[in-house]
Chain length 261, copies 2
Amino acid sequence: MLPGGRLALIALSGLPVVRPKDDLAALIVSALTATGEALAPGDVLVVTSKLVSRAEDRFVDLSRVTPTPEGRAIARQVDKDPRLVTLILQESTHISRKAKGALIVQSRLGAVCANAGIDQSNAAPVDAAPGSGPWVLLLPRAPDASAARLREALFQRTGVRPGVVLSDSFGRPFRTGTVGVALGLAGLPAVLDQRGSLDLFGRPLEHTITALADQIAAAGDLVAGQAAEGRGVVLVRGLELPAEDGVSTDLLRAPETDLYR
Amino acid sequence: MLPGGRLALIALSGLPVVRPKDDLAALIVSALTATGEALAPGDVLVVTSKLVSRAEDRFVDLSRVTPTPEGRAIARQVDKDPRLVTLILQESTHISRKAKGALIVQSRLGAVCANAGIDQSNAAPVDAAPGSGPWVLLLPRAPDASAARLREALFQRTGVRPGVVLSDSFGRPFRTGTVGVALGLAGLPAVLDQRGSLDLFGRPLEHTITALADQIAAAGDLVAGQAAEGRGVVLVRGLELPAEDGVSTDLLRAPETDLYR
């Protein structure tokens, strides 16, 4: 998949803190220029989904959320703000696990994650009124569609259609720490399926499906970090990907193959 | 952590199929030369743990394994070879889940993974006697120690002590496809702990521990693929890491914080 065997990951400089209705494609093109780069065919952009959420005005002022009875009850169990828990339940289809300090759900997007991906860091609008909030930031409404729109808007401005991965950082069972995952994508496969390939000895390969877009998101996260929002977009150059268009749900296990849900 | 914001990932060329007792450091130094690279301070090498297992002669001929009664019983439940299941049980401390075609265990190294990480692809010695096997390949006995030895051997040959990550590809709950994880490491932190850091608005960061070494392994896996063993070592250049020495168990959740074990 990578004949050259070389991959470059470049965090773009000069991205401002994104505001609702900002034109993300325009900001990214400016940031590419500020970084001394221009999009080339085959490039993939890893964009922190938080930037997209901010542009799509997915802010919620918790002081305006009225907790539901279920939200209050679960909030007591998990020791979280009942308004936040009410929002988490609205944004999810199924509770996977709950414990003191932890509420793991299947979000309405299908991914299993803590708090339905609702973010409490860097989550206030730039022009939040004094005394408003606390603010939280929901995931983009439809991340694949947001990725596809961004890809097309970048094409309009540059003549190049990059692959786009909208990334988030998720915790995991068994292992400590968060890793980048692909929440939405456009213009690249989500997974690489090597079923039918043979190993060095002619035996069919065992691990035949790799989570390509998640690994791209993890690589992007290595470069982007979390604190510096100015690092929210990473250019990945050198992947040689099959010309397939995946969707983020390709990365979700069917419930019947999931022993942990 | 990455002031320059640029990371290069370079798959080394010219690695042979590794044999027991091969000097992995010598092979890697030759491969660096063949790739036109030399180690520089700050470099990290992602080495597929399978190469280390081969060098450490962790091959097992299943035809010489006598299934235990427990191995036979579980093999029936999961529809696997009772000799393989016997080995899996020997290499693990705890069964996490079993189902038709799946046996997820906590390996004796602590990581939760399918089949205790025992590999059936690319798992035969180069000089396997005709009629021997089927062969499988166990994980390295002590991956952190193997990584540290490789780091020192590379220092002896090059004067540079690179970070070393021994990687494997693991499946995951909830999500499709495998991702690279760090099975062993030396000369770098396993996780980055940003507790105490503030977000753009002065609020403490929420996701404060990132699985650094796992993300490095995932990035390496993006470049290495699985089929081509010649891609088993990836040079990662441009990470600016704190001078801390982590251990792979830093990446494992304590059982009491694991809602899924």
